[in-house]
Amino acid sequence: MDTSQLLKGVLDLAVLAVLDRADGYGYEVVRGLRAAGLEEVGDASVYGTLRRLYNAGLLTSYVVPSGEGPHRKYYSLNEPGRVRLGEQIKAWQAFADTMKGLVGAQ
């Protein structure tokens, strides 16, 4: 089964969870997802998700000057973002339990 299809539904949750551990710039989030085992996540999907969460007011951003290269835009979870993360964790766990019940029975 194509995990990228599964990933689409939980990418918000995954990105919020990475940022809940520590603030990060775009590529750091990509690496964080990869390191957690989500190898198939597309770079552009992560950047697009960050923009959408930011536009939805769930993230704040700040710019950190970087010695090399352009300045880095760090994203950080704000209060609405943490609330959303909590909701999504609950929804995910309920969904995962349901699926376990369904799939584990066979």
Binding site: L11, Y25, G26, Y27, G42, D43, A44, S45, V46, Y47, G48, T49, L50, R51, R52, N55, S66, E68, G69, P70, H71, R72, K73
Partner: protein, 410 residues
């Protein structure tokens, strides 16, 4: 850290800063992404491209010398695919079908919208400023003519943005992210503040008829103007409202500055000076002479309303520690003195301000009035002919008799 390796190896595209340039694999990729997102609002595209730029910079640091078109394609796909993936994840609308509005009669609404924008921008302020109704009506017609394209176009007004004339015009803009573009962006914010202040002035004058409400209004209008400016960067349709209003603000600015500069001359409060003035010179004392040429003393003078005429006979500045400078009031009785009163000068001996009594005076009395004719005409001043002035020969009008009971104030 890999980033440092990348920069030190110094491949032309491996250095993070070089990603800003429009050449090299990263530059080409960036250009491709920009083209694929062209239908999105410019402000949003700029922010996305900032992200892509730092993404490419991080990749360049990771890949080092290996960064070329092929490596980028392996990692990220084509710019168009990258843009589509980002678009889908960010929740932007899918790209509009490219063919529809770009050719032939499909361009007509877009052309009309451009013409309408120019017409309303030029004619509405002109019509309002000069009071030319035809210009005003034509300008409003420009707004109407733009409506079809505004209704059918998205926030990016892609149909208008793709007109060849508009494209070549936009192509002359300074490179986004460059110093010129950043400077213009700063100027733009300043302009948003200026136009808000002008709007506050106009609103204040229009609502209350005074300037005083402009400042509290500005507290509301300035943030609103900045918000509108940011919003118009995201939704280009707003330009059809904002640009004519901007032109109007420019006209108001010209009118306001034109009115403010010559204003200091006729301002009445600042030119008000106490005392009695004739042709710009202060009259410090009055020397009444009878029609027969004989100087009069003990004379009280009144204006047409019966108010006492008072000179400020003082030429001493600031020497108010003694009462002797007062030519106006008798220090002992407190009542007003009759003319001639003398003038207050610095005494040559003491250096203090003292009242100098009226000195000898030679004046030429008009010969026609010297002839003493009997009857009331010669002794009646012209003003006293009015019935309200009462009987002139009975003395000063009762309303302003400077006796000790009712001394003129001053």
């Amino acid at each position: 850290m890999t980033q440092q390796d990348g920069t030190q190896q110094g491949g032309p595209a491996a250095v993070g800063a070089s990603v800003r340039e429009a050449d090299g694999p990263a530059g080409r990729f960036l250009t491709g992404v920009r083209a694929a997102l062209a239908d999105l609002p410019a402000g949003e595209v700029d922010e996305i491209l900032d992200d892509v730029r730092s993404h490419l910079s991080d990749l360049a640091a990771e890949l080092g010398d290996a960064l070329d078109d092929r490596a980028l394609a392996d990692r990220l796909g084509t710019p168009a695919r990258y843009a589509d993936e980002l678009r889908a994840a960010a929740g932007y609308p899918p790209p509009p079908p490219a063919a529809a509005p770009t050719t032939g009669s499909g361009r007509a609404p877009a052309r009309l919208a451009v013409v309408g924008l120019i017409a309303s921008t030029l004619l509405i302020p002109l019509g309002l400023a000069l009071g030319v109704e035809v210009a005003l009506l034509l300008g409003l017609l420009g707004v109407v003519v733009s409506l079809p394209a505004l209704v059918s176009g998205g926030p990016g007004m892609r149909a208008v943005a793709e007109l060849p004339a508009v494209r070549s015009l936009v192509g002359h803009r300074p490179r986004p992210g460059g110093p010129a573009a950043r400077f213009l962006a700063d100027l733009q914010v300043g302009w948003w503040v200026v136009r808000a202040l002008l709007a506050a002035l106009v609103l204040s004058l229009g609502v209350s008829g005074a300037w005083s409400a402009a400042l509290p209004l500005a507290l509301v209008v300035v943030p609103a103007s900045i918000w509108l400016g940011r919003f118009s960067q995201r939704d280009r349709r707003v330009l059809w409202l904002v640009v004519p209003l901007n032109a109007l603000a420019v006209v108001v600015a010209v009118l306001v500055s034109g009115r403010l500069v010559p204003q200091p001359e006729p301002v009445s409060p600042s030119t008000y000076s106490p005392g009695l003035w004739q042709d710009g010179d202060e009259v410090r004392d009055i020397r009444p002479i009878g029609a027969d040429g004989v100087p009069l003393s003990g004379v009280y003078l009144f204006d047409q309303d019966g108010h006492p005429i008072d000179t400020q006979g003082n030429r001493c500045d600031g020497d108010y520690d003694n009462g002797s400078y007062d030519t106006y009031r008798d220090p002992s009785t407190g009542s007003a003195r009759p003319y001639p009163r003398g003038t207050a000068e610095y005494g040559s001996a003491t250096g203090r301000c003292v009242v100098v009594p009226p000195g000898p005076l030679v004046v030429a009395v008009p010969p026609a009035t010297v002839v003493p004719t009997a009857g009331p005409q010669t002794s009646v001043p012209p003003g006293s002919v009015e019935p309200t002035a009462g009987v002139p020969t009975a003395g000063p009008p009762t309303s302003g008799v400077p006796t000790s009971a009712a001394p003129p104030t001053g």
